[in-house]
Symmetry: C2
Subunit: 538 residues, 2 copies
């Protein structure tokens, strides 16, 4: 029979050290650009692992990170799971009480954090029940003044470790390797635990041509934060394959991203639509050489068709839509055209690329509507269910597990259609659908239509309670700077009318300066609804 060698992450960093010692990472931090080879990254990773053991971190212990995308965070990405502990990446943009909850709930033993996140942790320090040590990542030689204790300077800490540290070879493939909390619409965040097996299989999936086609030849820049579903797994796959990784660091701007793409000849980059809207704006204002890009990967929420069109047709940058969630590692579907779809017209192709895509090999999906599985006709709507070896089976020690995980399937809470070719399109969150007079209106469809208007920078549609119809849509619109005062409510209605049934049209169009967003760039619809109520009252 076949060998029972486990699918564990230790092979990833070992392969990079051995086969790609000359390649490595371009890391932007507070003080500028650092270039480290995988030989160096490997040594530093082993030193960190060695020191964490000496600090008392044991198999299965959780080590939290609160950090931007940079080389030190990448070292933690491997040192922690490859020594048998659990890499717990924490979204430092959440509310302090949620961060406290997350650290205590996961029972983090050690926190590794960027120096600019110190003040945040100092504030909640008194509420942390399990943390025994803090390690601060900084370019500066000395630590800033801090009330945290015991506290270590990352560079000094690892300098005492051994580069000959050997990763254990007896880690079970189903052992936990990482964890990440996802924000809930109500209540505390929910934790997802990633296994070694799940991460290895997901990384293989990222390397497959029909998905993201990551390879040694890539220069990959994950813009999606490393605290957000492991930056979609790009750092894991990247190190394994010997990909050059460009890590854009703290407080980046569209300008910084454009400059990095240009100077480092980035071939693939990954992030949420808000990031790409920003980049698009930058490309319209200044000139850059973007010719190295073979793929801008976009997920997290739906990319407006206008944005895809602008990237592809105006800037000649291949733009690929995908879909996933914290619970799915995250790759589920990717919108790569099928070979025979290459014969479609540009407009038809755009139509396909605006959908989230087809299911990755290795996963199963089901779409359940009112009467069981929906037809693949691009029209029937239903909730998306997913199953597979890199899909979570539960929330970590959380009663809400039973809401989302039933009969062996993950109930995503996303309402979707699937067309004849198997392309899935997210219509809405079940919770964000607008129920008007017994019918469903998709806020996402209206938003996409609005964002295709040349004068609109971004737009969100929310449901507002209505006596007669139960709920009615209201559009919130941010105009581009040079369109401000030049586009009226009536213009927008004229623009929408030919595209929708009359009863789909928003009851109101509100112009705003900005749409409130979550820490990962998604529209914060709850806050928006409050804001709209205020505006309507005033």
């Amino acid at each position: 029979m076949m060998m029972q060698t486990p699918l564990t992450m230790t092979q990833m960093i070992k392969r990079a050290e051995k086969l790609y010692p000359k390649k490595g990472v371009v890391s932007r931090t507070e003080s500028g650009i650092h270039r480290l080879t995988y030989k160096e990254i490997g040594e530093r990773t082993r030193k960190l692992a060695d020191q964490l053991q000496k600090l008392g971190v044991k198999r299965g212990d959780k080590v939290g990170t609160l950090a931007w995308n940079h080389h030190r965070h990448l070292e933690a990405y491997f040192a922690i799971p490859c020594s048998g502990a659990v890499l717990h990446t924490i979204n430092f943009r959440l509310a302090p009480q949620h961060i406290t909850y997350i650290i205590n709930h996961a029972e983090d033993q050690v926190l590794i954090l960027d120096s600019d996140i110190l003040p945040l942790i100092e504030k909640i320090q008194g509420h942390l029940t399990t943390v025994k040590a803090f390690i601060i990542m900084t370019d500066k030689e000395e630590l800033p003044e801090t009330s945290l204790s015991p506290v270590y300077h990352y560079e000094k800490f690892i300098s005492e470790g051994s580069a000959d540290y050997e990763f254990p070879d007896d880690i079970d493939e189903n052992a936990p390797a990482g964890m990440c909390y996802t924000s809930a619409t109500t209540g505390n965040p929910k934790g997802v635990v990633y296994s070694h097996r799940g991460i290895v299989l997901h990384s293989m999936a990222l390397g497959m041509v029909d998905n993201v086609a990551m390879s040694e030849k890539d220069i990959g820049m994950p813009v999606v934060p490393m605290f957000h579903v492991n930056a979609w797994g790009v750092p894991f796959a990247g190190v394994w394959f010997g990909t050059t990784l460009v890590l854009p660091g703290p407080y980046f701007t569209p300008k910084i991203l454009a400059e990095l793409i240009q100077s480092e000849r980035v071939t693939m980059t990954a992030g949420v639509p808000t990031i790409w809207l920003g980049l698009l704006k930058e490309l319209e204002e200044n000139t850059y050489d973007m010719s190295s890009l073979r793929m801008v990967l976009c997920g997290g929420s739906a990319a407006p068709k206008g944005m895809i069109k602008a990237f592809e047709e105006k800037h000649n940058i291949p733009f690929v839509h995908a879909y996933g969630m914290t619970e799915t590692s995250p790759l589920v579907v990717v919108s790569n055209l099928k070979s025979y779809q290459e014969d479609l017209s540009a407009e038809e192709k755009l139509e396909v690329k605006a959908k989230q895509g087809t299911l990755a090999a290795g996963l199963e999906m089901k779409v359940i509507g009112k009467d069981g599985e929906v037809k693949w006709d691009g029209k029937e709507m239903g909730e998306l269910l997913i199953r597979g070896p890199w899909i979570a089976s539960e929330y970590y020690q959380d009663e809400r597990t039973s809401d989302a995980f039933r009969d062996g399937w993950l109930y995503t809470g996303d309402v979707v259609t699937v067309d004849e070719e198997g392309f899935m399109k997210v219509v809405d969150r079940i919770k964000d659908l607008i129920k008007s007079g017994g019918e469903w209106i998709s806020s996402v469809d209206l938003e996409n239509a609005l964002m295709a208007h040349e004068g609109i920078f971004e737009a969100a549609v929310v449901a507002i309670p209505h006596e007669q119809w139960q709920e009615r849509p209201v559009a919130c619109v941010v105009l581009k700077d040079d369109y401000k005062g030049k586009v009226s409510k009536e213009d927008i209605y004229e623009f929408l009318k030919p595209q929708f049934a009359k009863w789909w049209l928003p009851d109101e169009v509100l112009f705003m300066e900005e749409i409130p967003k979550t820490s990962v760039g998604k529209f914060l619809k709850m806050a928006l609804r409050d804001q709209v109520s205020q505006m309507q009252k005033s």
Copy 2:
């Protein structure tokens, strides 16, 4: 944690049916070209699975196939393992007593065979101890006269099956899915059992960019026989990914292959060097459009540098060297250049591409020389050891397991070097190394040098016993037709001299009409040694 969904092959055929019903297979049989969609292949596969159950085939039962590469064999490739039985592909070119041994040793319950293989099976029928039924694959409406019994006509057999047959969803990922016997240098063939997990992971590996990069966009033609390590896994990965598969059928010639590549716009094809030597000859004699090819994958034995050069430089066809064996599913290393090696000169690139390549992500290797692990310097020789989830852990019920599988590693019996960049090069079989005066001479190195000579069609070097030096090399050379009588022994010595130490030069150069080969196109060195002894005596 993550879902425990098993890595089983049922997902492959189901994905092709559901997501790629319009795509499919181009199959050449005795009567011409057949085109079947994956919708049709799926239905026929389910019918075959249904009928095999009705015939009494149970979980874990072995079903043997003796067939060429065509659509019916592909249906068996999925119907058998996806119903829980074991697909046992049999090399019908082996000696009849070995075929008998294989069928009895595996305990095949049913044999599915091509009609042209009937006479062979009729001859050994009396010796088969476990086979309960024979299914004959043919385009003809009626079966030929046969002594086999009970015997079924494949098309009539499946026509009675149900296209609604459901593949079981409770197959364990470690359950056996396939098996294949590899010929031993002495004694009976040795069996390797492939698990569902191994085949799924190996298929993912084939889809990864840095390996074979198989995808939906490919039109893939496995020339390597489907009885030989599952045609290197190409049919499994191809169906899973929705790749168009071109199956070249029985008794193909270089001309037929060239015509199929041209007419079907084949993008990738896989086979042994002998096949590509034949194709090269055909391309030199006739004109074809080969522009669709993105990869000629070559394995099984070392490709001579001259052949790689001819494909790449003369015909502009990307030629990729790889290495594997029956025991390894087979993918182990592939010779894709690293990104920074693209800057090498054409000659240097050729040097790299003539090596077998770098290790696929997912596997581990070790090269053990006289003093432990060898240095990666391209010079130190040692035996290649491999480990990983698609590497066999044993021979099926065979005492010889302990020779090759030790301490969790597969001892390949291949002597290799590894260069600074991690490119492995097969120097020789441990058994084929020529031991001359206490030093090693690589027969493969001499063969490659000889085959780079413009007048030489093929060449093999064997060890001949020698009183003083223990062993000495003798070269056996087949000249190209238009060089016959024009290249002398002395010409060949002059050609070799600048390339090798004096004591490496063959003691004798023998001109032959043909070099004896195994059924899979490898040089039959044992037979050759006998032939050389005869020639030297006479």
